[in-house]
């Protein structure tokens, strides 16, 4: 028999999981790029990889404190954004798409290659960089590190809670900043650029500079997302494949591309659905409901089901969950 309570409680855990927070933050960065500015960034995985490796390498190789490690990841993503933006932002939008997808792959392959194994750990990746972050845990003032805290499906040790608090705190801060920015005249210029950059140029705005600012802000969000992503796991280069970028795009479209809360709720829905389907299929194969599937095939089926669910949402609610239907009536 299928243990539905277990399935549902596993899915419920995803609501506040740090991975969900990481995807939400990366999707928020992409919302700034794609949804608000109209920049086709297909290399968000690259920004996340730089954040993750920047943090881990600064800690492990240089022995820097947490704040300096975070700064390293952020600075790396800013430099990456500048390298991508300087040659391409004057050109048509599609050039940025091509360059970002290639650059993200270059970043991943540089971290994978054996040449830098001493620093990057090559295909095995890096671990053991969490000590400094764990030591900052304010919960340890009140609890022992082996205590289990929480209720219902959400019972974790203090480190896991600290990762969640930190991750979702960053998401909340980023969402607040984004919301403020897009209520300001700065956001108005950015949205104008999305609609027609020549018109904005003709009104005396330095379009190139604004696009660069947008690319940097969204990229920094991506790098911070990469750091949240590695706090509950190790840094492994194969996590930063192009498919990561496309999952983030799926989340963005699910929630609504030009919205602040869309990417966050989209990420929650995406991970809850993914967890539920993967649990359900695995159990269903075990109890013999799907005799034509092997366990390996079952592992892939969840992505098909998630794809199906996203297709249904995009067909019946194409503006995303938080998007404005009125805007959609005029999409070219």
């Amino acid at each position: 028999m299928i243990d539905w309570i277990l399935l549902i409680s596993n899915a419920a855990q995803e609501i506040i999981s740090p991975t969900t927070a990481a995807y939400a933050l990366a999707a928020l960065g992409l919302a700034i790029h794609f949804g608000f500015t109209g920049l086709l960034n297909f290399g968000q995985a690259g920004f996340m990889a730089l954040g993750a490796y920047g943090f881990a390498i600064a800690t492990l190789t240089f022995g820097w404190p947490v704040w300096a490690a975070i700064l390293t990841g952020v600075v790396a993503s800013i430099i990456f954004a500048l390298i991508l933006g300087i040659p391409t932002l004057r050109l048509r939008a599609d050039y940025l798409a091509i360059v970002t997808i290639a650059a993200a792959e270059i970043v991943r392959l540089l971290f994978t290659t054996n040449t830098f194994v001493a620093v990057t750990g090559s295909a095995n990746g890096l671990q053991g960089y969490k000590g400094g972050f764990a030591a900052l845990n304010p919960l340890l003032l009140f609890f022992d590190e082996r205590d289990l805290l929480g209720f219902g499906p959400w019972v974790y040790n203090p480190y896991d809670w600290w990762v969640r608090i930190f991750g979702w705190g960053l998401v909340a801060l980023a969402a607040f900043i984004t919301w403020r920015l897009f209520k300001s005249p700065w956001g108005r210029v950015i949205k104008g650029i999305r609609e027609d950059e020549d018109a904005v140029r003709a009104l005396g705005k330095n379009v190139y500079f604004y696009k660069m600012q947008s690319l940097v802000i969204g990229g920094v969000f991506g790098a911070l997302a990469g750091m949240i992503f590695i706090l509950p796991r190790a840094v492994v280069p194969s996590n930063y494949q192009t498919s990561l970028t496309f999952f983030i795009y799926a989340i963005l479209l699910l929630g609504g591309a030009a919205t602040v809360f869309g990417p966050i709720i989209g990420s929650v829905i995406f991970w809850v659905l993914l967890s539920f389907f993967s649990g359900f299929i695995a159990r269903a194969v075990e109890v013999g409901w799907l005799p034509f599937l092997s366990n390996v095939q079952a592992g892939q089926l969840r992505f098909i089901l998630v794809g199906l669910a996203i297709m249904l949402i995009v067909i019946y609610r194409p503006q995303g969950i938080f998007g404005n239907k009125k805007e959609l009536a005029f999409v070219k």
């Binding site: 920015l181 700065w186 999305r194 020549d198 003709a202 005396g204 600012q213 805007e327």
Partner: protein, 309 residues
């Protein structure tokens, strides 16, 4: 040089704009743009090759010519949207050749486009506010802190609403610009350009695609710009409009300025007729471009009207 509606509703024309005989490249009494040796070629085709051109200040100047004469290319060059192969020009006495479009706009020379560029998914009011210059809230650092820009934003909004009321778009202020009709978008684009308080307004085919009901109000708005002390330079195919409101006409053909002068004189100029019909118009060239025929018919109609009155 000021103008207001005349007794019979006909606009008062600015006169005595030039020095000496009206010819291509003639000197102006008070030029706002002075351009020299502007040349732009695309591959083997020379799109613009203007030896000398002055645009008179405080007047409405029309830039006319057959399709492919280089009018829009010259517009793009003067506004920094395109770079010439050679040439330099000044605006208000400052050299602005080769500087990017957004800096040209900041100096008070603002343009509109042949294909209207309303920012579709911004509201009409946001479109307007975007036009205002020197907004402190447009800097990233200050954007986060509304108290730095709230006051200026309120002033800009008040000015935007006032302009929208003048252009009869105030009821649409919360609609998306994409929901406006073609003519309303032209009005919005012009109103938005005015938000930057320009000294020179450059309109690229302001009448294209505007329904006749809106034409008169657009004309009045353009005439108002002059009344308010702005200089207007516009590209147009509609000869009625050119005659009606232009104080000065510059005719281009094959990239060159072929004639200049008062609208009535210029249209009688053989060089202009050549430009529109081709210098071999007495020999059989087969079918004429329908646009040219319409333009010529309009000219003939206008002349007939003038004789009657």
């Amino acid at each position: 040089m000021s103008s207001s509606a005349g007794a019979k509703g006909a606009p008062i024309k600015s006169v005595d704009l030039h020095v000496g005989e009206a010819a291509p490249g003639v000197k102006k009494v008070d030029p706002i743009i002075v351009a020299d040796h502007i040349k732009r070629s695309f591959g083997g085709l020379t799109a613009v090759d203007v030896e000398h051109l002055e645009i008179p200040r405080g007047a409405i100047t029309a830039l006319i010519g057959p399709n492919g004469a280089g009018k829009t290319t010259l517009f793009n060059l003067l506004t920094g949207f395109d770079k010439p192969d050679t040439g330099e020009w000044t605006f208000d006495g400052q050299g602005i050749s080769g500087i990017p479009a957004f800096k040209v706009a900041r100096k008070g020379q603002v343009r509109t486009f042949q294909l209207t560029k309303a920012l579709g998914l911004l509201t009409v009011l946001d479109n307007m506010k975007l036009g205002a210059k020197d907004q402190s809230g447009e800097s990233l650092a200050r954007a986060l802190f509304p108290w730095f820009w709230r006051k200026q934003e309120a002033e800009i909004e008040a000015r935007a609403l006032e302009l929208l009321a003048r252009f009869k778009l105030d009821e649409k202020k919360d609609d998306y610009a994409a929901g406006l009709s073609g003519g309303q978008r032209k009005l919005l684009e012009m109103a938005r350009a005015l938000m930057s308080q320009p000294t020179l307004v450059m309109l690229d085919e302001p009448m294209a695609g505007v329904n006749p009901a809106l034409t008169q109000s657009l004309l009045d708005h353009i005439l108002n710009l002059k009344t308010e002390g702005m200089t207007v330079l516009f590209v147009e195919h509609d000869m009625h409009m050119v005659r009606h409101i232009a104080d000065w006409v510059v005719v281009m053909a094959e990239g060159k300025v072929v004639a200049e002068g008062d609208p009535h004189e210029v249209m009688a100029n053989p060089a202009v007729i050549d430009a529109y019909l081709g210098s071999h118009h007495d020999s059989d060239l087969g079918d004429l471009d329908t646009g040219v025929i319409t333009a010529i018919k309009e000219l003939a109609d206008d002349d007939a009207d003038d004789i009657k009155h």
